[in-house]
């Protein structure tokens, strides 16, 4: 069994690079972690105003395949999306229905305190993004979730309001970028994800359409950067052009 895995993991890539077998747009889990590190390094370098992508290592979970490889995923957490004051007011009225003020506590239980600042905060939506490798599709998958400051998770119709206009267009026009709600493979809680079933196809197109990308070795290392340049748009995360540029400049 492990031999077969190794073949899939390594040889295929080599074959693809040598051009013996047409590359199918996928990558092995080893190449995923390789490419992930390249991606997070570049992100840090060219995207300093954003939080960094962290590599989170996880204990091996797939017992079917014996392997000593360490698994993990990339994580970018706590991106803040600050809501306008108007939508804050809407929320106020939504939420006022849920709890009535407990007037009994105000006087009896707590002394009035002048030193406590009373100041309404912005309503902020927080976003967490994870890039996880899918062993069945052999491609990276973007998982994400959003929550209010107090931790309440947002349903997708709320998230949609935060997404840029071109995201809806992208999602409706391309049948490869639909969003589903599925269990996070490591956290075992439902997260939103961009379904990976078309990823290898459009990755193949992406690489073949740009011959400068399709040179020895760089294919795999640059995989995540190219992949994210497409996927990131769906969730409103842009990749700085320089990140893509270096793909070409390193190559030449």
């Amino acid at each position: 069994m492990p031999r077969v895995c190794n073949r899939r993991g390594m040889d295929l890539k080599d074959d693809a690079v040598k051009g013996i077998v047409p590359w199918d747009g996928t990558l092995s889990s080893f190449d995923f972690s390789l490419s992930a590190h390249t991606f997070s390094d570049k992100w840090k370098r060219f995207n300093p105003s954003f939080p960094a992508w962290q590599w989170i290592t996880c204990p091996k979970q797939h017992h079917l395949v014996a392997s000593h490889k360490v698994e993990g995923y990339l994580s970018l957490e706590n991106m803040c999306h600050i809501k306008s004051s108007q939508s804050l007011q809407e929320q106020e009225s939504d939420r006022s229905l849920t709890w009535k003020e407990e007037s009994n506590i105000s006087q009896r239980e707590e002394p009035f305190d002048k030193a406590t600042l009373v100041c309404p905060e912005h309503e902020v939506n927080h976003y967490d993004f994870h890039i996880v490798y899918s062993a069945s599709y052999r491609v990276p998958v973007l998982y994400f979730r959003s929550y209010r400051s107090d931790g309440q998770l947002l349903p997708f119709n709320e998230i949609e309001k935060d997404l840029p206009g071109h995201s809806a267009k992208l999602r409706s026009e391309s049948k490869w970028t639909f969003i589903t709600h599925e269990e996070h493979p490591y956290l075992n809680r439902p997260w939103y994800k961009l379904h990976p079933c078309g990823t290898s196809d459009w990755m193949k197109l992406l690489f073949h359409s740009d011959s400068s990308l399709n040179k020895n070795g760089f294919v795999i290392e640059q995989y995540l950067i190219s992949w994210f340049s497409v996927i990131g748009q769906v969730v409103g995360l842009k990749i700085p052009l320089e990140m893509l540029d270096t793909v070409v400049s390193n190559d030449s």
Binding site: W99, E110, C119, D150
Partner: protein
Amino acid sequence: MEALLQFAPMQSSVDEGFWHRLSSLKLNKLGIDDSPIPLFGFYAPCSHSQVSNHLTVLAESLPSELSEASLIPEPSRGNRNRCSVPGILYNTNTVESFHALDKSDLLKKEAAKIWDDILTGKAVEDCSVLSTFLVISFADLKKWTFNYWFAFPALMLDPPATVVNLKPASQWFSAAEAESLSAACNEWRSSKSKTDVPFFLVTIDPNSRATVRLLKDWEACQSNAHKILFGFYDPCHLPNNPGWPLRNFLALISARWNLNSVQFFCYRENRGFADMRLSLVGEALITVPQGWKDTVPSAVGWELNKGRKAPRCISLAQSMDPTRLAISAADLNLKLMRWRALPSLNLNALSSMKCLLLGAGTLGCQVARMLMAWGVRKITLVDNGRVAMSNPLRQSLYTLDDCLNGGEFKATAAVESLKRIFPAVEAEGIVMAIPMPGHPVQSQEQDSVLDDCKRLCDLIDAHDSVFLLTDTRESRWLPTLLCANTNKITVTAALGFDSFLVMRHGAGPLSADMPVNNANGKHRLGCYFCNDVVAPTDSTSNRTLDQQCTVTRPGLAPIASALAVELLVGILHHPQGIFAEGDINNSVTGATEQPLGILPHQIRGSLSQFSQMTLIGYSSSSCTACSHTVVSEYRNQGMEFILQAINYPTFLEDVTGLTELMKSATSLSLDWDKEIDEEEDCVEIQ
């Protein structure tokens, strides 16, 4: 310029994982034990110019249910974004006791602990206790909602402290000092042992060199007569106010070192590094009276909910309710099918369709499962039998438990089983026998049989499609007639020992909206009885055991059931629906206009040959169930007609002229159509 020093309250944020772990702790370990649970919260310096950092609790805040007897979580140290803060959780068993908790008393208790830690000096050794917090909660595990309320106890100085000269650190310090301090802070933050120590001292020597030190070094740095500032990780982002942790820090400084004037440093970051423009420095003036240390100061700190004193409530049904999760997972499978392979798949038509399954045996069980897999949500099963010991092996909805104590009614047990498989199914079980022609009834039973007829009639009216899955031919007669009368989509599956028939019935003979001349002027498609030349009679009383019982190859029923369901899905997606012509498997072209492929009329298969073929049989004008004559007679006479069919074995044959036909058939050698001949070979006795 002296102003009241106002502190921005600490805010809480609860990660979903916290509630997941609390739920499983409660269910698997704590039970009704509601004693307070120690936990940890985490916070970090503010790192966003517009957003304050929150005190966060997550799964790791609670002890794992797997951990040994101890319920004390171990904080992980050394994470720069997770300075751990001890807390205590009061999780009540009812919403009433949640509201009844004496919040004032709980806050006082925690404040007294903090005060004690200040006086004993413990807070100097382990400064995280200064930010001790308290949570009360009620977890409604049936609805996946959580009521909760955080408190961040803050000791009040009386009179309150005032502040002078509050400004960004970059303005307070000289450029050299600010640069040196930034470097010292960054070093502190990158040291594994100090990164999560949120209170510290800053000394600045005459050469503008800044040093960051632990609180316990306070005495040591006195002698050097440097500038001394009291620094803390400030979660607050506001430009004119320090964050909450400074309150208990000032109480500590005043109580322990008797300072009246305190230079404080609100440490804030940007992109993980010290940011002197966001960080604040100010001078707090404390004027507490003599002897204030003798009593525990009053405390405040219950978190407001949108400006009001109220608990918060969070619902995680979306991610915790297994029913919802099952629904979204089931929907996803179907949606993926639509996205990827069948863009025209009409999931709404499937989920809104009401299916009536007559018979809950091998076929009924399997058909129900397949329907659910296709996204059908409304299923009614009719059967009058009970689950027998021999059933569970072949009838996939039953287990041994259903057979005990005489056996459950199949209709009831099947519905329960369907709900266990998929809780969102709207399944109903009806225990009733289907009246059969040629099975005469006693006059005293007549009323109840008529009731059953009417009930069946109502059921068929109330559903969109009907499956005939009973184990005798004659029990299919009445439903076939009723479906022909109301023009319902009808699918029949019948089994022999190793052969099967799956077919859809054609439209009824009187259906008004039938397309004129039905496309190519062809006949309407036949029903199950159209190819028979005898009316259904009692097929059970004169049979040997192997013919009477369900003796078939076990693989047969699942094959036939699956085909029956696929056939229904095909009808639903065909533009002509019930009027669609029968397609024949065309292996030459293989192509078809419909995304789901061809829509056959009949599929006959044989396991002995591992073969399957598609056939067309048109309706017969002498059919005992769907012919114009029979349906018209039923419309005219209603139940009287049915009663006669039940009581007189030759009644139907007489009505349809079959008796006449049979007579002539015996005297003439008939030249049978080849197609019918083939079909005759596949006799199904079920």
